[in-house]
Subunit: 351 residues, 3 copies
């Protein structure tokens, strides 16, 4: 793999999920693969899960990791061509990306949308220029319109937990949990849900006080649409009017404007806020009743509840769910590690 920026960069998502679950069972089985290889993680925006999980994934593969917080440690980058750089930008992305490519075998890049100009964001100008000029394989750590490492982790989590006992969240409060990933539970389906009854997965819009990017829901939608096409899941998206995602991400998904109807008999509810695509970047007015809580959970098929985190408690998602037995959010965050490790492994194998 030379680029991991969307589901379209993956030849076979079932194989990639299976690879991730194999790595989870044997994290250090390929610790020579990354010897003398360096991963550079470039952040234009803050990160917790993505940085730590990707860094750990690279370490598991024997890579060296260099983290560069360009927003704090570096300086403002110019992306436009043909401008005289006599303003606030200190370096052009043409040079900055190419230079980072000189020191790293693989680069990861996080670059959020500005949510001001839809065309600019959806052209993925910054991300694509970085890819073009750096000259080495690039893994997206979340771009303006997608967060594929998150979506892969989400798919891994669904495959792994479908028809399995729900992990006990109270374990998180003890100190004697096994952190030996080899002891963690792996689905006997081996990453392949074909032939089984399909889990009903619902992406459910949630309230927020700030307009958030569409990257996580776009990305989750395109991965689930692909998984649906491959016979792995049954996929529905629910949002209030005005919050429809861009159509190319949702092709094949059932669309609902009624949360209660959408989550009926759901096996997985993926909770997430996003701002409007149509009225770009705006947090439009929205009706009451879009926050998942235990009452709504009763409508589902004892659904497991997911969220990419960070989550604002009792605004996006009820504490009673996060602290209850149906929450997968920590387990899901843990799978970010295997998501990143599977992608890096695939890239290392083609270096």
């Amino acid at each position: 793999m030379k680029l991991f920026s969307s589901v379209n960069d993956v030849q076979d998502i079932k194989k990639l999920v299976a690879s991730a679950l194999e790595l989870k069972a044997s994290p250090y089985a390929h610790s020579d693969l990354g010897k003398n290889k360096t991963l550079g993680l470039v952040f234009m925006n803050p990160s917790l899960r993505t940085r730590l999980s990707t860094q750990k994934a690279a370490l598991n593969l024997g890579m060296n990791v260099m983290v560069m917080n360009m927003d704090k440690e570096g300086w403002a980058l110019e992306t436009q061509d043909g401008v005289i750089m006599n303003g606030t930008t200190v370096e052009h992305i043409r040079e900055a990306a190419a230079v980072m490519g000189e020191y790293c075998d693989i680069l990861g890049l996080r670059s959020f949308p500005k949510l001001q100009n839809r065309e600019e964001d959806y052209n993925e100008e910054f991300f694509n220029k970085f890819v073009k000029f750096c000259g080495v394989p690039v893994v997206s750590l979340e771009s303006a319109t997608r967060h594929p490492l998150q979506s892969l982790a989400d798919l891994i989590t669904i495959v792994e937990t479908w028809k399995q006992p729900i992990p006990n969240p109270s374990q998180r409060e003890g100190s004697n949990i096994s952190h030996n990933p080899a002891e963690w539970q792996v689905s006997p389906t081996g990453g392949d849900l074909e032939g089984a009854v399909l889990p009903k997965v619902v992406l459910a819009w949630a309230p927020h006080i700030k307009p958030l990017p569409q990257a996580v829901p776009n990305s989750f939608a395109e991965w689930m649409c692909k998984a649906q096409a491959e016979g792995m899941v049954d996929f529905t998206i629910a949002q209030p009017a005005g919050f429809e995602l861009e159509e190319s991400f949702t092709s094949g998904a059932k669309i609902s404007y009624n949360l209660d109807e959408a989550i009926a008999n759901a096996d997985y509810v993926y909770v997430k806020n996003w701002s409007s695509y149509k009225d770009y970047g705006k947090l439009l007015d929205f009706p009451e009743g879009w926050m998942m809580n235990n009452e709504k959970l009763k409508l589902t098929s004892n659904a497991k509840v997911m969220h990419c985190l960070p989550v604002r408690r009792d605004l996006e998602l009820a504490s009673e769910i996060l602290d209850g037995p149906n929450s997968l959010v920590i387990h899901e965050a843990g799978n970010r590690l295997w998501s990143a490790q599977a992608v890096l492994k695939a890239m290392l194998e083609e270096l």
Copy 2:
């Protein structure tokens, strides 16, 4: 060891000191112990000594280290339960801690007090919630009320230098000092002062222009009280009226309000400012004459002078002492490495 947050987490302080001095003599003897183990260092506040010494300690044990400056690289965390998160906090410590626990085998946490609400600080709310929710062993990198890695380094320094020639500070200015720890001096007492004449140790309050936390003096006091109970030192605390530490930290210590009387015949003077516990977080008016200098040193038994650093020269402690033959401050900072390595080794052995 599953938790290192105070002297009470240590079964046998003499053995821990002895372990640190063994590691100082053979830093890489256990470099396989940490193989494929990851230490996450989480800072809610700035750090120099603590970060570098703990990172180096982990590297000596063969661990991987990931540093997360939450205050700069991350976002504001919520600690209260039951609040609707529609304000400035982006993520709850329940999720943030649990997620970090997913990627790390051991976590270190620094979280200073706010010095506004005594009960909140002394409940160690932030630190304890982090420990509760992260699900992996935690080492304190300084919490609201304690700095145990510092105090262990202080005890190591006293054990190591008692009845030994004072290290020559002028060596610090040359470039040919041995930095091979195997060549550094280890006390023939092997970490055990029993049977010897006890060193008189005095914790001496010092002036400052800002109100500082009580974490370092609290912690030093509780470690010295414990060491006194174990027959290792004779311990006195001196401070102006109003600056008394919380009593549970000082049980067994002699208390003085007269610096000159307290340091008479002292073998070690540990200089440190702290704000008032009673009039919480305030820098009360204080009398003249509380800064250690060479004149006061004459009252002592040629005492070795300690400070945790950073130190404000000629405000807290006279330059003539810091640059003179009685200062242990750099040597003491160097021992932070062995303090951290002994604690991490004990944690790794029980993983």
Copy 3:
């Protein structure tokens, strides 16, 4: 090598260049040399190329690396002696440097000039005090008046590319460039240009909107003057009146105030802005016609164009050059890695 702060710290620049080119051909040949050795990189100012290239160089040698952004992660340091520290500085460089020396085998330091007091900057007060008090070998990551890792990389680049085909910059835009350094081109002259026709190298002042330090041009000048004395290059400096560099850096160089005359028949043009030394730290008025572009390039002997980066496009240097076949800037930045690795190797060999 115990100190790398200027060309005067190097016994034999030809040997150092040859060592760098050998490391470029076999980056991991000495990966045991740095085992259990730790490099601390201390930044008082932002860094991209220097941080990543030096970190990678150390990793190639098997070292551990700890990065400390003192400007963001730490606090303000005092450098003056004899002051009562009751202001904004929290720690004296005497303690801070000594403490960092306790945890690291080699330290790197970046500390820019303030451009306010020429004597203070040119005394290299901060850098020299750090070297004096840290007690371990120090490599400059750019100080107030010099940037020797950059200058060494520049010399490596000239040696490597003289009489060689120009690297094709369009390769940077593809994703299938070889990043196996062993496949990169190494000059058959083996780092020794003696006996060959000398390349004409011109350091050419360039416009800017901000007053920049003289560190890069000072350093480039002293390295080129040394290389000229060793029969490796023919060296000219061109700048508008008022921008003359301090004489001790330019001894032996031809000086010109006419860019077109200076670059006539040049083989290498090194483009860089700097502020005035005479009218210290000022960006004086300057005449038109000092920006290198394709028209000026015609005056040269098809010169290769260099710049240390970051570069402001079409202000300092024309895009048409940066994007054209004569630019060496990315290749030059890539050589920062081998520059740093050669220096660290020389330091490790004498530890």
